[in-house]
């Protein structure tokens, strides 16, 4: 039947999209590498991309790697801080999100639909609005401090003066919905009779959870973790809105080097930082994909 369509029809209608993605996705990737390995303009001293790989130079790279690796290097602190923030935020997201997803997977009927809808709302509330809502609440004279003062539970604090805890909680607030849904999907797929079987065979509920439910939801945990880690590593706006320069993350540096400090070798260094970030993130993604493939093969056997 397919022969009835003119030959080359399918490639032809795919072409605009494919060309667009090549021009504005593949080429930009190459431009990052070309800029990171580029040279400096002889007159202005600014970064110029080198499109021919034969002339690539490692200067910007070695500068960035030196700044990352050497003790007291200029990128080291920001880099370690980013990793610490992301690790803590992901850990908290899991600790909070797993029970919520578990609860959601056990609901039935109307209650479940209502819960699902309320769960989905944050997905479509613009991210910056959700973080901005906290800026209001956490002001010195904001509602949080007012409530604290009224209850006497804790002294009013200046939450926004560069506390890591505020930024980490902001990251958790911003990204945890994206973790809960894949977790929910994984937990929901577990056949309840497996858990009942474990209980009938004498496993304690805790043991049944640890030996049956938790391993069966491992793929959901992995998927959700990767899904929230990808954007979190590039997130600089949360730290900017809820913290100060003290909370700068790797995205802050990239944004600064690329778009603000355009003079001198800054752009090349910014591009090298992007590559470091991309490598870090893609190693996580590859780990996830490999483990998913292995799990799928295991299930098929």
């Amino acid at each position: 039947m397919e022969t009835l369509y003119p030959r080359g029809f399918w490639p032809a209608i795919s072409l605009p999209g494919v060309l667009w993605l090549i021009a504005l996705f593949v080429v930009p990737f190459y431009a990052i590498a070309a800029t990171a390995a580029g040279r400096l303009d002889p007159i202005f001293g600014s970064s110029i991309p080198e499109w021919n790989p034969l002339y690539w130079q490692p200067d910007a790279f070695s500068f960035v790697l030196d700044g990352l690796a050497s003790p007291g290097g200029i990128f080291r602190e920001v880099f370690l801080r980013t990793i610490a923030y992301v690790a803590l935020a992901v850990g908290l997201c899991l600790a909070l999100g797993y029970p919520v997803a578990y609860y959601m997977s056990r609901l039935r009927g109307r209650l479940r639909n209502a819960f699902l809808v309320l769960m989905i709302v944050p997905f479509w509330v613009p991210y910056l609005m959700r973080i901005f809502a906290w800026v209001n609440l956490l002001q010195d004279d904001g509602l949080v401090n007012r409530i604290l003062a009224a209850t006497g539970f804790l002294d009013p604090q200046s939450w926004l003066d560069g506390r890591p805890s505020t930024v980490i909680l902001g990251l958790v607030y911003g990204w945890v919905p994206f973790l809960i849904l894949p977790l929910f999907a994984a937990l929901e797929r577990i056949d309840p009779s497996l858990i009942e079987g474990a209980l009938d065979l004498g496993a304690s509920p805790a043991r049944a959870f640890l030996r049956v439910t938790l391993p069966l939801s491992k793929q959901g945990i992995l998927a959700g973790t990767v899904i929230i880690m990808l954007p979190m590593f590039g997130d600089f706006y949360t730290a900017q809105l809820l913290g100060t320069q003290k909370n700068a993350m790797i995205g802050t540096l990239i944004s600064f080097y690329l778009t603000q400090a355009t003079a001198g070798p800054a752009q090349g260094r910014g591009a090298a930082l992007v590559i470091v970030l991309a490598l870090l993130v893609s190693s996580l993604t590859v780990y996830y994909l490999v483990s998913t493939a292995r799990a799928a093969r295991g299930a098929g056997r």
Partner: protein
């Protein structure tokens, strides 16, 4: 367990209830329920408060001073309607989202149909290429786009930064989402309907126009809306590809003045952004749910809608 809960709590019953709960906290998930609904409250209340205070009559961000539309229309200098920067950001976001929607959706729909039917190594490679942006952190793509617009795509020496570069960036970012939205529907439909139409004598193009596209219409509509909402929400790409005041979008405005700005209109700006985003998604989900209800499940539609975001 239910009988126990219904009886008058004698001391013995109470003790055994505690023991039962300790033995299996998950059986009657009170604690979990508390956590679950507490979570929902925690995730929605801050946004609700921001919306509420956008209708505040006074300047305070934390004391309610009565209802008014002051920050939307009434205040002669600071309201969204009268502050030129705020009004411009609303317009800029709307224009950008509309244009992105009009360009990315047709291209993505064509790409999805082509890729679903075209077999061969090039098609496999294109499929892979199409999925890559979905697993790329946005900051990486935005950096790459910044660099090509700074050094490579400079037609006649003019930098495209500003609205043009933002539009190109948003379209790039949206195409894969369109394909993912369409793909679910395309695989559900299969080739049989077109083949039947062609067996009955319809020329191929006619079969596509009269059979396939109408069947895809709900998904196409949903794709339009989702691209619109994605563009309204987007921050990183808009920020990296901007140039000066003319290209400030709503999220950029909140990012730039959220911390320092004493201007209470920001709550109103954020609310406008929320309304734009949610109404697009609301429309998309109504259409998708109609289709899903015909097929039985409402929940599947909701979940499908969520998958796109991921």
């Amino acid at each position: 367990m239910t009988e126990l809960a219904a009886t008058v709590p004698r001391p013995a019953a109470r003790a055994s209830r505690v023991r039962l709960w300790l033995a299996n906290p998950w059986r009657r998930p009170r604690l979990l329920a508390l956590l679950g609904w507490g979570f929902i409250a925690w995730s929605l209340v801050p946004v609700g408060i921001a919306i509420l205070f956008s209708f505040n009559a006074g300047r305070s961000r934390s004391v309610w001073q009565g209802f008014s539309l002051r920050w939307y229309v009434q205040d002669p200098n600071l309201s969204v309607l009268h502050d030129p920067i705020l009004a411009h950001a609303v317009l800029q976001s709307l224009k950008l989202a509309s244009l992105t929607m009009l360009i990315a959706t047709p291209m993505g729909v064509a790409l999805s149909i082509g890729l679903a039917r075209w077999r061969g190594p090039v098609s496999t490679a294109s499929n892979f290429l199409m999925l890559l942006p979905l697993v790329t952190p946005e900051i990486v793509l935005a950096s790459g786009l910044f660099l090509v617009f700074a050094h490579l795509y400079v037609p006649g020496g003019t930098r495209l930064f500003g609205r043009r570069a933002q539009l190109l960036g948003h379209v790039t970012w949206s195409i894969p989402y369109v394909v993912v939205v369409m793909r679910g529907r395309l695989f559900g439909i299969g080739k049989e309907y077109e083949e039947a139409a062609m067996d009955l004598g319809a020329p191929p193009m006619e079969a596509m126009r009269r059979v396939l596209l109408p069947m895809l219409a709900p998904a196409i509509f949903a794709a339009f809306m989702i691209v619109f909402a994605l563009s309204i929400d987007d921050f990183i790409t808009s920020q990296f590809l901007s140039s000066g005041e003319g290209s400030i979008t709503l999220p950029m405005l909140i990012y730039g003045t959220g911390r320092t700005g004493e201007n209470p209109s920001l709550n109103a700006v954020a609310t406008v952004m929320l309304v734009l985003s949610l109404s697009a998604i609301g429309l998309a989900s109504v259409v998708l749910q109609r289709v899903a209800r015909r097929r039985g499940t409402e929940e599947a539609a909701a979940r499908e809608l969520v998958r796109f975001e991921i």
